[in-house]
Amino acid sequence: MPLTALGLFFAYPVAGILLRGLRPDGAWELGAVIEVLARERVHRVLWFTLWSAAAGTTLAVVLGLPVAWALHRLRFPGRDLLRALVLVPFVLPTVVVGVAFRQLLAPSGPLGGLGLDGTAVAIVLALAFFNVSVVVRTVGSFWEGHDPRREEAAAALGASPWQVWWTVTLPGIRPAVVSAASVVFLFCATAFGVVLTMGGLRYANVETEIYLLTTQELDLAGAAALSLLQLAVVVGLLGVSARARRGSGPVARSPRPLPRPGVRHLGVLAWTAAVVAFLMTPLVSLLVASLRRGDGWGLQNYAALATTGEGNALLVPVTRALTTSLTVALQASAFALLLGTLVAYLVSRPRRGSGAAVLDGLFMLPLGVSAVTVGFGFLITLDRPPLDLRSAALLVPVAQAMVALPLVVRTVAPVLHSVDDRQRQAAASLGAGPLRVLRTVDLAVAWRALLAAAGFAFAVSLGEFGATAFLARDDDPTLPVVIYRLIGQPGAENFGMAMAASVVLAGTTTLVVLGVQRLRVGSAGAF
């Protein structure tokens, strides 16, 4: 069933728009493709896409791993709050973060002296900023509950903490790291707003090129050529990552309570603090901006959220947009979780071999293919009954769920994969039916990851902008859409409201994620 859906709603539209570009008049025009691929600019764009994504991914992983460890392998007060805060960057609209980042980095900003404004370094930093939480979440939930005795055995054999990390810990969490890194790479390689905002117009990646070619120039042949290139890169990446994830055995889990931090954890804790500070800096600047009014300070911007803005900038008050956002996010995360768990379950079945890897890769594809390509393909292929989906309103939560789906799969699948199959067999032999096995064996192990994924999906949905703006009915905009409108208008009040609304978005996300994390305490005993 999921495969049919994927084929119908992903492959078919993409093929449709590509064909429109490659066979404009019913005859193949591959010459155009070759011409496009031979352009010097395309080579530059491709090279920038690859290296900026690789650098962004590396940075996100390097920044994120110690944080994942500190937030999922230690027990200390405030840990849950930190876990929730780390997710916040992920949900903020690019445009807001872009403005916040640039306010810091611009020559007139506090970090202006670094001269980073408009440089590739700024792009890579911003890419890492958005994606650190993917690493922390994906790896952290896999890591949590890992039996530490393997590392203890290594330490007792004379491995220094550093050697333990390289020779035992890292290989042990490799599936989750590769999983997270490949998702992050796809995000970075298809980054759009970040590249444009942070890089001015000096830098372009494949995604921004496809966007410009399709939506502005209607150069479908060029766009098709770049989409094919993108597809090739993505398939290559997924192949490599599937190979790298192979061969990891089941993981022993221990119910032992996590240790409290001690002096020997100082390094990791300092690193975590630094990363959290990095993630929070743009948010703090948002907060400061939201409290400023004219030359003074105050909460007027927050009070104004119940209105439609200066000069009636909005159709609905921000408060109503928040309600809409929460409703949509709830539906979206429920759906993403349902479908994502199903896919995760399928791909994590043992002995599926390369079939599972292919399946897993297929469901990652939507992340790596230009949204413009898919969106436009959608318009020209699914446009007639019984599948006229161009205007169905319920599509918003569905579309958001699809953004969250690969994240859910990538969070849950490694955990399910690490379940020793003998446990399932044992349960079955004890008279448990397949459903009961699922509940008592798989769920028992995966509930943490499921909750992490739920929080993830909710956060993604709250912050999702592209799908919402593309599909949302105008009279029911979500919070990011409203923020986007506010920041797109002059006027101190509108700017202040945009900042205040962003803070509300960040705050809501934190609360929701925190709430989800609390839930787990109650459900822990249920299994």
């Binding site: 119908l8 169905a392 945009a498």
Partner: protein, 364 residues
Amino acid sequence: MRRPFVLTPRPHHRPRRGTPLRALAAVPVLALVVTACGSSAGDDAAAEADTITLATHDSWAMPEEVLDAFRDETGIEVVVQPQGDAGTLTNKLVLTRDNPLADGVYGIDNTFGSRAVDEGVLAPYDAALPEEAEQYRLPGGERELTPVDFGDVCVNYDRTWFEEEGLEPPRSLDDLLDPAYADLFVTPGAATSSPGLAFLLATVAAEGDDWPAYWEALVDNGAKVTAGWSDAYEVDFTAGGGGGDRPLVLSYSSSPPFTVPEGGDEPTTAALLDTCYRQVEYAGVLEGAANPEGMQQLIDFMVGEQFQEALPDNMYVYPVTDVALPEAWAEHAPTAETPYAVDPAEVAANREGWVREWRDLVSR
């Protein structure tokens, strides 16, 4: 990045909508459910007679009361579907020509209008326009598009900054090349922003074939190019939300009223009216529409008094008819007397080439 794969917004909420989303990608499955529920907008034939679907750009912000008034008058319900910025909107319509997305369109502007007309997306409709609005018609068209509103894209300056520095503000495009104004100007880019494109067209109109030389000089004089309008205005402009360090920004002639400080009555910014390019926005009936008559009625309504009067406050554009402007606009947002203009046919023929050449110039 995931969701907001979005360009920064355009001025006056002219956001360039995000790229659809990679999600759409998979919209899969649910879609099935959705269709099963049968709630698709276009296919309820029974309601068709009294419903029309209007494709717009993202800046659509008409309050419900206005469309309610239209419904009360005609019995027609309008379903509004924002489809992206003017370029995206136009290209979507071209792609779906054989099976239109909607009955009509609003928001195609004079930089994309010719493409829509040339591609045969629109059905002719000769709306009755008041005399004063005739000047805004798309030159060369066969009356497929009816002008509804316009906006002037102009360089804005921070009056306070220039007063404090004791510097005379520039007046013309050529002044921007004066070393006295080095490193003071910021503009959104032509490739990624519709005012940016308008500004490029202004320079094309002013300099003719020598525009690349103008841009080289502009960049050499320290002009900064950002991706979108909010980057330029809210980050780099001294009078924007972020308190930047550049007192000259490309924006709209309607921006200054928003900079009246609390308790004051004079805006702190003003537009340079000799630097403007005029963007006109049109409405039209789509070829193959299910309900062309309903859309024609809506177009008549859009050039009528109530809709025209509501435009400045809600969409930040000037009406094409002689209706009363809001007080602050009348006082602080004059329009250009002789804005720059480029023939739409020429725009249609050269836009891609210009933008590419421009991109190479500024990204050196």
